[in-house]
Symmetry: C2
DNA sequence: AATAAATTTGACAGCGCTGTCATTTGTGTT
DNA sequence: AACACAAATGACAGCGCTGTCAAATTTATT
């Protein structure tokens, strides 16, 4: 429908620039991508034309022709959790510096949505995929394996990574955190958990193992409410706990938001922390050090995970993108602050 | 270099699927995009072939051929600030439901990076651009205007929007917040600010206006440290304030992180809040209601901004994408909690 | 001055898909 | 049985760019 006449309406193309600058299209292409292979004179003419037309290259065409997308796919379960925002930031920093564009998807903790995101990313021909977690649908796993792009699974550890695996053992962290409370002399240790995040579930399994090993029962000590974890939710769960059961001596909360909520509710109820109840969080968010009492927590190295993931991806893309399998365990750290204390004896 | 022989190595294409399913490529294309225009029998054969080959369409080719990208560009200054994470979440929800893919860039508060992001997004032929702020480089503005895609500027208000403008008057909010403290009887009201965010600067200008109108001097009452705003920074700034000057009666902090840090430092220093110092934050982050004392703050409707921006964009893409200019003022709300109180008289 | 070598520019084809239109097949009507 | 009409399928060209190689130009070498 469009004739030559409506150049004014059409999106500008390389050819338009070439005509205006009186050079061939391919020269324009080169001037834009490898400026020093074009003589200064032409380059200047081309720059002027580009500027005059406000020309922006069509990336779809460029990608199709070069079969290089210069982009990286990242999938996180949510953007709401600061943990992932910080991790993303670290990824972004490394990739942007290296000239890669980052495409972020969030799966809302759904494997089905994750698979959809993987399809879209592979369809974009991203040059690497960095994904939170080690659980995927069988099809998603197959797609990733077939894709031949480096795949980096983060935040958890697995014996059978698709490619590269960078993270920590969530279950071991849960175990050690519980052990930390047991070693303080506590016996009735509760576990507080919000919605069904697989990593929180792994921490719960570690908690169970530690309790069993110490011959402690945890029946009636699991406080769960299937909502997005938040300060408000922690507060609400603590209300229920205080109402319905004998107050536990210690609470291990599956993340810091829940922990802070529980902490505040305890204050409100006159349950002194840590004298009456010890509270331990997870993730070591910034506010943990600043609440009062300050919140003990388990620090995980999300920025380091992001940075290492990005660097590893870049290495693999540059060097040998073979099917290396490798695991990096970045560990965790229990930070004891004021909210946890020895059991009264 | 690749002959027909290495179909096993090449990325699978529509043609591969077509051959395997013994249909024409175009039928495969249709089966994938408009399944109900293809007979059940063929559809099934095609689905089987797609599955067997783990075929993923090349989006670059699709976009080039159809000149539709089904994607939306979003630019935020940072992912670190929860405000923008929540806003993004709201955008994502609306767009994904409508079948659009969201491409997020962060500008790190740099107009230059913003221009670069705009170029890349336009190069991707996104069908709308949603961008935080109203300040852009002249070239960025020109690119956006020439692009013919709906542009939505958010979080601030301007008399001269490129297209659509959804937000609140940051300066008026700063003015009203300051007025709120003045009306409580405070005279020495300090302003605490971190790095050079334009929106925080606008709030500062509102503060200045309110102070001047009330004939209050604010010399030596500006506490500033050019670092990323955080709880730790608020705490550090409060330390300086307490050390170097007569303690103000009230502090208006340019965001809640600074406010919480200041609040905690006051506790530590034995400066009772609000009896000695009133503290007012901005943004009303979740923890504000849960700190102790709870933090007074100015709530802004970031989720609503995101939702409305997405819906408006979708409307414009569907209907008349003409150069409508329109502004939506979503306002703000001062939430008085425990951290602000009347001046002793 | 004649040749080789390096630099700069251009012609051509094709990346993998989809819009458009033509053709084939199936259904209903008289 | 003959026709019109709708539904399903296919052929063709082209989206806008870049890889590859060839041609034209400049510079260095003998």
């Amino acid at each position: 429908m469009l004739g030559e006449a409506d150049i004014t309406k059409r999106r500008k193309t390389l050819d338009d620039v070439a005509k205006l600058a009186k050079v061939s299209p391919i020269t324009v292409s080169r001037a834009l991508r490898k400026p020093d292979t074009v003589s200064p004179e032409l380059r200047q003419r081309i720059d002027a034309a580009v500027h005059k037309l406000a020309y922006v290259p069509n990336l779809a065409a460029s990608r199709l022709a070069s079969s290089r997308s210069h982009s990286i796919g990242v999938i996180v379960p949510t953007l709401y959790n600061v943990i992932f925002a910080e991790y993303l930031l670290a990824l972004h920093e490394v990739f942007l510096e290296s000239g890669y564009q980052v495409i972020v998807f969030n799966s809302h903790y759904s494997l089905h949505e994750e698979e959809k995101a993987i399809r879209t990313l592979l369809g974009q021909r991203v040059e690497a995929i960095i994904i939170v977690g080690i659980d995927h649908t069988p099809m998603a796993r197959r797609l990733l394996q077939k894709s031949k792009v480096p795949v980096i699974e983060t935040f958890e550890l697995t014996d059978d990574p698709i490619n590269i695996n960078i993270g920590l053992s969530q279950s071991q962290a849960g175990y050690d955190a519980t052990k930390f409370l047991i070693d303080l002399g506590h016996r009735r240790i509760g576990f507080v958990i919000g919605n069904l995040d697989v990593r929180a579930a792994a921490r719960l399994s570690g908690y169970r193992r530690a309790m069993e090993e110490a011959n402690l029962s945890y029946t009636n000590l699991l406080a769960h409410k299937a909502e997005r974890s938040s300060i408000a939710l922690g507060s609400a769960i603590m209300s229920d706990v205080a109402e319905n059961s004998k107050i536990p001596e210690a609470l291990f909360c599956s993340d810091d938001n829940l922990a802070l909520g529980a902490l505040m509710k305890c204050r409100q109820l006159g349950l002194h922390v840590p004298e009456v109840v010890s509270i331990l969080g997870f993730h070591d968010l910034e506010f943990a050090a600043y609440s009062s009492p300050s919140l003990s927590s388990v620090a995980i190295h999300r920025r380091e995970i992001g940075k290492l993931a990005a660097e590893t991806a870049i290495n693999m893309m540059a060097g040998n993108p073979s099917t290396i399998k490798r695991q990096f365990d970045l560990g965790y750290e229990i930070i004891a602050r004021q909210s946890t204390g020895k059991a009264p004896r």
